[in-house]
Structures are given as C-alpha cells and as structure tokens.
C-alpha cells in the first residue's frame, strides 16, 4: 500500500464515528438524555434569539410563549379547550378503530373481500382526503358530526390497511403449525392469526390516532373554531402571538406524548419478544 492511500484511510472515519472529537464531547454523546437536553436547549435558545431580533413581528420569544402556555394552563382555559377538542377526536378514533380493524381483518382473511376492498383503501390512503372537508361541511353542517367524520376519514385508511397487512402476513410456518396440530378455522383465527396480528394492528391504531389528531385540528381550523382551534384562530386575529404559539405547542406536545404512550404500551404488552431488546 502506498503512503498516499494510507493517508486517505482515516479520512473516512469521521463519517463512521467521531474518532477525533474531544473527550468531554464523547462522554456527552454516550448519554442519550444529556444530548436530548442539549438539543432542546439549543432549539429553545435559537427560538428566544429569533424572537428577540425579531425575525418577524408575528414571532414571539420562547419565554413569552412558555409564559402564555403556563398562564393558560393555570387559568384552566387550555385544559378546557383540550377537553373540547378531544370529544370529536375520541369518538372518531373509537369509530374508526372498531370499523377499520373489522374491515382490515375481513380483507386479510377472505380473498374476495381483499380483492374488493384493498384497491379502494390504497387509493384513499394516498389521496389528500383533507379535500373532503369542505364537502362534509356542506353536507353535514358545522357541528360535531362533521368533525367526527373528518377524524374518521383521516384515521380509517391507515387502520384498515395495517390490520389487513397484519393478518395477511401471519408467518406461514405458524399457520402450518396450527394445521398440523389439528386447529379448526376458528381456533386458527383466534389463537394464531389474530394474536400474531395484534402488534401490527395496534401499530395501525397508533398511526391512525396520529392522523386523527391532524384531522381534529384541521376540522377546528376549517369548520368551526372550537377548542384549541378556537384559541389559535382567536389569538391570531387579535395578534396575541404568544398565546397562539403556546396553544399550538400545547396540542403538539399532548398528541406526541399520547402517541409515544401508545407506542410504549405496544412494546410493553404486545411484543414480549422485543421487551428485552429495548
């Protein structure tokens, strides 16, 4: 090997691992929580700085936003708004879960149902269903019904398709095992197929819930301002930007925490094979 090529060898190292970084940085990097806090602090500082410049008259500082968030939490207006937002969301998610899982499982178990149903749900999953919102308003007015509908159309396709895939992709050897030990059809479905599909179905419910949150907020912004959507629109019209940003940050935090929580439940209770890995 010539000296020139040897010189090149360490050049690719930094892409693989930070070999040349100082010691303190390395110990910091090995602690995921420390870096998380650093990451959050960087973003908070950048936000604070951008707010103080200010980059835009409608960009409040991090401090102002945090203060607005705490005052809305303290006077109970934010929790009340969340309770309002959660009504159509909860109804919509419950409806799409029951109906969606049933449709998905039926498509996974029966080839005729699959033939009939899968293409339309693939189209629906790819399609920008948000465009249906104006139609729903026209058809069902501006009440809770429309909002529930919006949540459903956003959440349903992913729930259906995940349930379908989960059932369809039951490991072949488990099905053969069941048959070789004389399982009848109900036993095969109940004890093997559905049980094996449960984690993926649940993951679909988690994705559906995330999509449902998008729908619930969209409904409040487009249909009638209620709940969190009301705080956002009202604060925007009165140029109370800290409140507006705080409400948005609040709804994002709540939805992310809720979805992370569902992910934790999935890992903890439904996937014993991954319990030790995590």
């Amino acid at each position: 090997m010539t000296p020139t090529t040897r010189e090149f060898v360490p050049a690719a190292v930094p892409l693989g691992r930070p070999a040349s970084s100082p010691h303190s940085l390395q110990t910091l990097a090995s602690n995921p929580y420390a870096l998380r806090i650093v990451s959050f602090a960087i973003v908070a500082l950048a936000w604070e700085w951008a707010g103080r410049v200010p980059v835009s008259p409608s960009f409040p500082t991090f401090g102002e936003t945090a203060a607005a968030l705490f005052s809305m939490l303290a006077d109970g207006s934010l929790p009340a708004a969340f309770a309002n937002t959660l009504v159509p969301l909860a109804i919509g998610i419950a409806l799409s879960s029951v109906v969606g899982v049933a449709i998905g499982v039926a498509m996974g178990l029966n080839e005729k149902v699959e033939w009939f149903g899968v293409p339309i749900f693939i189209v629906l999953q790819a399609a920008p269903l948000a465009a249906l919102v104006p139609l729903l308003v026209l058809a069902y007015g501006i009440g809770v019904t429309t909002k529930v509908f919006v949540v459903c159309i956003m959440a349903m396709p992913v729930i259906v398709l995940n349930s379908f895939k989960a059932v369809r992709h039951t490991p072949h050897s488990l099905i053969e095992m069941g048959r070789s030990f004389m399982a009848n059809r109900p036993q095969l479905i109940g004890k093997i197929i559905l049980r094996s599909a449960t984690p993926v179905i649940f993951a679909g419910l988690r994705l559906g819930t995330a999509a449902g949150f998008v729908g619930a907020i969209l409904a409040e912004l487009l249909v009638t301002p209620t709940g969190v959507g009301d705080i956002i629109t009202y604060s925007q019209s009165t140029a109370d930007y800290p409140r507006m940003y705080a409400a948005i940050a609040g709804v994002i935090i709540v939805s992310v925490l809720f979805i992370e929580g569902l992910g934790w439940v999935e890992q903890r209770f439904l996937r014993p094979e991954k319990r030790s890995a995590s």
């Binding site: 892409l15 995921p32 009939f116 149903g117 399609a127 948000a130 026209l138 907020i217 994002i252």
Partner: protein, 251 residues
Amino acid sequence: MIINGTRVPAVFSLLIWAVLWEIVGRLGLTILIPPLSTTIEKLVEIVGTPGFWDALGLTLKTFVIGSVISILAGIPIGILMGRLPVLDRLLLPWVNTFISAPLSALVPVVMALFGFGETTIILTVVLFAIWIIILDARAGAHAISPSLVEMARVYGATNWQAFSKIFVLSAMPEILTGVRLGLLRAVKGVIIGQLLVSVVGFGRLFEIYSSNFLMEHMWALLLVLFALASAIDTAFGLIERRVEHFASSRN
C-alpha cells in the same frame, strides 16, 4: 380473484366502486354524494376554465418546489444522522416529534410568518414531507453493511466519495421508500396548505364552490387530486421495484 378461470386484477374492483358511487348518487341517499356521471360532466366543464389551470399550475409548482427542497435537504440530513451518533441524538427527538405531530396545527404559524401566498404552501409541503424522508434515509444509512464501509476505507475513499458513492447508493432502497412516502405526504400538505390559506389555488376554488353549494364541482376537483396522488404513488412504486435488486444483493 378468479372468475371463470381467469384472474381478474384487483384494480378492476375500482370499477365496481365507481358503479356503486353512481347508484348511490342516483338514489339521492345523501347530498354528500352526487352521481359519478354528473361529476365527470362537471369535471369536463371545469377543465375548460382558466381558474382550474391556474390552481393546478400553482398546486404543481408549490408541490414540486416543496418536494425538491424536502428531498435535497432530507436525504443528506438523514444519512448524516445515520452515520454520526451525536448528530443523531441531537436531531432524532425532533424528527420523531414532527413525524407524528398534528402538522395541520403548525400551518397557522407558517401563515402568520409568511403570509397567504405560495411561500406558505411550499413550506407546508416541506413541513409534511421532509421528516419521513429524513427518517428513511437514516434507516438506509444504518442498513449499509459495515464491510462495504471498510472496503471504501481500505481503497482510500475520501469523505465525499464515501458519501456519494457508497452511502447514498447503498441506502437507495430505503431512500426511495422515504421519498415515495414523503411525496404522498407532500400531496396532503399541498392540499391542507391551500385549504387553510384558502385564497389561492384549489383552496380558493373549494371556497368558491362550497359557498355556492356546488357539490359536483367539488367532487370533480377531488377526482383530479385523487388521480394525481395515485399516479405519483404508482409511478414511484414502479421505480422502487426497479432498484429492489440493490436491497437483495446487499444482504
């Protein structure tokens, strides 16, 4: 499904759905659903108007610009995250947050900062599309076999060569999946952005149609948008299948 011994492709079930749509529409069960035939008539009518082409042009323009930004920024960020643990730990919490966050709530912020124009819609597209592209590029970078990286080092690849010749190419299957999912999210973003901005493009058309109770017109626009989304999905699925040999040879 097999009828009379011949296999009928599943896509044909969409024709049955079209017939069902027509029947439900004709029966007048709900004002939500007008017959498919009148919708198509209205579609032909709308396609002749300059307003439609303006809206379509704006949609395509913002969609393309937003998608290109997401792809050009998302892929390098994702690959770097996959190769640099510190950067990964710094950015991953945010990527994970935004990938499951209700992004529709952030559109008002973009509107407050950038007004009611094209910029806002482009940024909405980026906001919707970029996270999944980053995450999948990162997964692709994780899937690169260590021996391939070592091979590059043994043969004296520079950082840039390793990045462009090894990482991007061998992470290609995951990257393409990410881009396809990102583009689908971008379609949703471009529509949600226009609906919320509501003074330009299809958002404006929807606004006009709904204030005039023109249900068929709205469905006609929907047909266009659904077709657009399906076309992007199908086209990208085909491209993905063509590079599948990458993935199989990698294992």
